[in-house]
Symmetry: C2
Subunit: 348 residues, 2 copies
Amino acid sequence: MLTDRQMMILRMIVDNYVISAEPVGSRTISKQTDLGLSAATIRNEMADLEELGYLEQPHASAGRIPSQMGYRFYVDHLLMGDTRLSGQEITRIKSLFTERIGEMERVAQQTALFLSNLTQYTAVVLGPQVYDTTLKNLQLVALNDHTAVLLMVASSGQVYNRTVSMPEGVSLREMESLVRILNARLSGTPMYRIRSRALEEITHEVARHMRDYEEAVHLLDQVVTWLESDKEGKVYLGGATNMLLQPEFRDVHKAQPVLTWLERHHDVMEALRSDESTLQLQVRIGGENDVQSLHDCSLVTATYTIGGLPVGVIGLIGPTRMDYARVIPLLGHLSKGLSDLLTKFYVN
Amino acid sequence: MLTDRQMMILRMIVDNYVISAEPVGSRTISKQTDLGLSAATIRNEMADLEELGYLEQPHASAGRIPSQMGYRFYVDHLLMGDTRLSGQEITRIKSLFTERIGEMERVAQQTALFLSNLTQYTAVVLGPQVYDTTLKNLQLVALNDHTAVLLMVASSGQVYNRTVSMPEGVSLREMESLVRILNARLSGTPMYRIRSRALEEITHEVARHMRDYEEAVHLLDQVVTWLESDKEGKVYLGGATNMLLQPEFRDVHKAQPVLTWLERHHDVMEALRSDESTLQLQVRIGGENDVQSLHDCSLVTATYTIGGLPVGVIGLIGPTRMDYARVIPLLGHLSKGLSDLLTKFYVN
DNA sequence: TGTTAGCACTCGATCGCATCGAGTGCTAAC
DNA sequence: GTTAGCACTCGATGCGATCGAGTGCTAACA
């Protein structure tokens, strides 16, 4: 176990390194501390901390930097109740969510921008994806003789749309009655059960309204498949290029993998979804990330909820040398605000 | 005016530099040409071309690179009918647009990815924005007692949605009749005329169906404002990080402004919209770009159309040392394919 | 036993300097 | 008009000297 003094030194080293991005020397700590310890004493402690695995030395004559384990200890034990957000910042966060909700799309995007602007890191927001959502309504709007738009509204308020071209031999009227039947029979059905219910209960009824049985079944199948298909939430990025501001990514070859990974929204989603748990806040430091490209990064995520159910994730990606003391409470407040807003709207 | 030989040399220099990204020397050209000219002769011609402004010398003892003017001449006069796409590539482009259209969103995104993968540059796609589009249909789907989703389908097939919270004192039924009236009176109206027509013709009728006149007018105003509000097309990027692959952007400080600019979708849109003209293809080389951040880049854009009307833009951004000979016909084919697909769907 | 001053040592960063070589411009000859 | 020859330029590369921040170790001190 670490002594109080060691903890204090570790903490100071992290705090310093987070700001300066340069190895921290014993003299620096000695001057900042008010315990009146000399650099030599600090040096001894630092050597011990290194031996214990909390610190590293880039090269023999340099200062120390925190190891992954050092950051982990810092986050887990040295940050208790240490909120470095100014009161001003907290009110600013709150005010972000007072306005109308409008389009969820916009809320997510703005949250990402807000986060990245405030932190100089890269923000990631996973749009809400409600698992126990039900089908609310289906609409067909004809554009012309052979094309129509199929609209689907989920109970969570999400809207999905798809342009369909009418199959040969199916009239608009037939299509409309198909949709009417689906609406009557399926609204209220959980999304994941749509397919089975549709095939069990409705095939025959649909077929009755259409001349071509084969075509009817085929069409129904297509529509239903789409309805149930994975409507994976979207990924919203903010400040991806902030990555380039960080000294550790000044070299293009360091930055490239991360930025490229960020471009593959599907992978990003997968990585973040896995953190979407009842655990409100997750911190993954360096190698703790499963994703290879993030081994030099830290990922801090918070889950937001609707009516207590986790539906999405907001997060920040930066170098392992991240300002955890600011980032963690920031994400906490923000996810709280977002959850409250969404709950107010969509629960009742 | 340039002699044939000068043109040929200029052309070879551009072709070489595009590939190697290194200044081209006289010996290189001399060996590649089959006219049997010595390096010295080439050198004389190169000196002339430089004096005329078509070439530049990074420093005294280096080879030549094309100037902005050189690229311009190359694009305008040396590229006639020079299609360097393989037959395979052309069929691949065509096959990209044979499938169902599904969601326009996806088509745009995939086009961007396809373009960036094929070229190693950054692709930009401006989602379709139809100016003379009309209102097709309006739908209100209630989610619960105080929240509903308002859907709008435009004649171009685009779908816009917005979550609205019911104002105090307005019942769902009132809201529904408002939407019914709007549908009856406004469908078929050009988007830009919605506001004036609504205010002129409908206010009274709406008020008749609602208890609170003030509230009715206010609500109508809100909805109508949203309907007419600028539904600006979205921007889809592909391969933004490809920028970092280019030697000229190996230095983070060179790449950062461009990537940051690309993140501001609104600015990107503005820049590309201005190229959306009857002119099918636009090439903006280096300083020809109005945007300061693109002064070291070239932007090649092609307009795509629906039924002959320009509605969107696809483009590629790369270093001025861009492979115009490939990029230009590529964008040509792609915009053609996209136009055909969209026209087939949405015109009738 | 913990703390500290002193000191030799390490090692990256920076600078100057020599070298190398691709490529040029110029001149004179063909 | 073309070309061979040649001196010259200038970035790139490599090497060694120097500098300095920071260390580890030792010995003295409280």
